[in-house]
Symmetry: C2
Subunit: 335 residues, 2 copies
């Protein structure tokens, strides 16, 4: 089952010419989960992977830069004749936000199923669950945990046959499902003799805005990918603390303690060059990246390799259109 994360907006608070406001799209098989929906998210989708028919929108908190793209996207879904209901999950305040936006959005032909909570399960997939994790941002806030079920171990058919299990018989299925069978010569073969250990699923955590905290550490334990905010450098640690944000160093320390497979930093401020954030993070945790808009991270199953960072499709980094053509400079991020 393919699993990846597409970074749609990686800016902190204010967009720039190269970074949109907070949003990532999680793609798992055919399912699409949008996490945060800053202004412009629908167009960031159109500019990259297409406007997905998302199944779930997960809002980490109700600050403007994480949520103002939602009403327009819902409206666009309506104009595209969406019919199936859409679940929207958020912390306390999400219901009121949706009511406030109601007059602007107007009538929709599909149902919105708004779920407001502080923590706990929010979405049950076939073989995974999504949970809300408490975060600490000075306003009601939640992070997302996507946790896949363990998968059955690998069935070693050659070993089974060598032990005398009948070929092409229902006995093979019985063993695969964990049972035991008797061979023609009366010997008992148990599943654990021919089926490997359960293989772990993948685990993905997206923090939204928060200081590094215990609940995120717990959720991120052994995670395949941790997407953590890093609004500040350590030199501004005090400001990070008072505004309920993380530093790159703080995020890296948490990632190292949780032994995650990869740390992807986002919520990038124009205050710094991204390279500064990267260097500070990598000093504390080597497998760190700083995400850019339209990057994606692929999460193979653990036995198939490490998470892989795919920078946006080979395009030049600066995408400002028309910069300088009118005698004024587009605002571009430094470094």
């Amino acid at each position: 089952m393919d699993l990846d994360v597409v970074f749609l907006g990686t800016a902190a608070s204010v967009p720039s010419a190269t970074r949109g406001l907070s949003s990532v799209l999680i793609r798992r098989g055919g399912e699409r989960i949008l996490v945060d929906c800053g202004e412009g998210t629908q167009r960031q989708l159109m500019r990259s992977v297409g406007l997905a028919e998302v199944d779930l929108v997960f809002i980490t908190h109700l600050h403007a830069d994480h949520v103002l793209g939602l009403p327009g996207m819902l409206k666009t879904f309506g104009m595209r004749d969406r019919e199936r209901p859409l679940r929207i999950v958020g912390p306390p305040g999400i219901e009121r936000f949706m009511r406030d936006m109601g007059r602007v959005i107007g009538g929709l032909k599909y149902d919105l199923d708004v779920l407001e909570l502080r923590s706990g399960p929010v979405w049950q997939g076939d073989d995974y669950v999504i949970e809300a994790v408490r975060t600490q941002h000075g306003t009601p806030s939640i992070g997302l945990l996507l946790d896949e079920d363990d998968r059955p171990g690998r069935f070693d058919i050659d070993a089974a046959l060598a032990l005398g299990v009948r070929p092409n018989s229902p006995d093979l299925g019985v063993l695969q499902r964990g049972g035991e069978v008797t061979t023609d010569d009366g010997r008992t073969v148990r599943a654990e003799e021919v089926v490997g250990e359960h293989r772990s699923g993948r685990r993905l955590v997206y923090t939204g805005d928060t200081v590094p905290c215990e609940s995120v550490l717990e959720a991120a334990w052994d995670a395949t990918l941790l997407v953590h905010e890093a609004t500040f450098l350590h030199e501004d640690a005090e400001r990070a603390r008072t505004t309920g944000h993380s530093t790159a160093r703080g995020a890296a320390a948490l990632a190292a303690e949780a032994r995650v497979g990869m740390l992807a930093l986002t919520h990038v401020s124009t205050r710094y060059a991204p390279r500064q954030l990267l260097e500070e993070a990598q000093a504390g945790y080597a497998d760190a990246i700083v995400a850019r808009d339209f990057d994606l991270v692929e999460l193979p199953y653990p036995e198939r390799g490490e998470p892989r960072h795919v920078p946006r499709g080979g395009r030049p980094r600066r995408e400002a259109v028309g910069a300088g053509w009118a005698g004024e400079q587009a605002v571009e991020e430094p470094g």
Copy 2:
């Protein structure tokens, strides 16, 4: 005094990979007037001419695609420490919209001066006025008219001297200001002998969404530039009428009757190829263009030439980032 119009978003209802939602920036000297503010407008500014410290925001109507970029932009102004008040003008409903958005925007350190009206003057510049013009869109709606004062005629100093007016004397100023003087040999020279006729100012009309209507025709009479919506082709004229929109043919007919200097069509639907809109418009009015995002139109004074369409700075038309890199196609407009 330089005057131009920057097209920030030219899409109808739903954005695309290449077109943002409705907004134009009028730049006159150092003044900046934003007309409509669809989702993503602040970033469209950053991607082109920079995030202007706008003096006035003029909202034509309260449909989501024209207004959802406003709260985020106001928030960004706040984060950039804007201090001076911002006037926001809109039709009935704008005050309520601003109240609905208040909780999301939170406190701002600068004042918002919200003016709600159906028509009439909304902004008095040094030598121009901005008025709201009634439009017809099935919801309270207004268009914008920017109307410059006439300028004094050109003073022909050589003619004045030839008539015996004393060189380097205050008499020259008297004549320029419309007075009369007596020469050394007792002859009276009147201003109209040496000053040309008053020169007209420029006139700019932006319709927002509307059917072609009398009040727009009147406002656009002899206008330098008419920015008119053209959501439909004539083949869908009935649908245009019932939804309160214009066809390219309808906009062109109005432009021809009003004898405008240039007609710029916007609010472009992905339903058609822009070329179709252009051909239909030009059949009715030759000086028509279909605006694209980041195009601008310069409006010189009439004696210095016609309005000039400057396509966005020489970049390839398709700007979709990463289209196809993840096995999915970006949504792009046809044609």
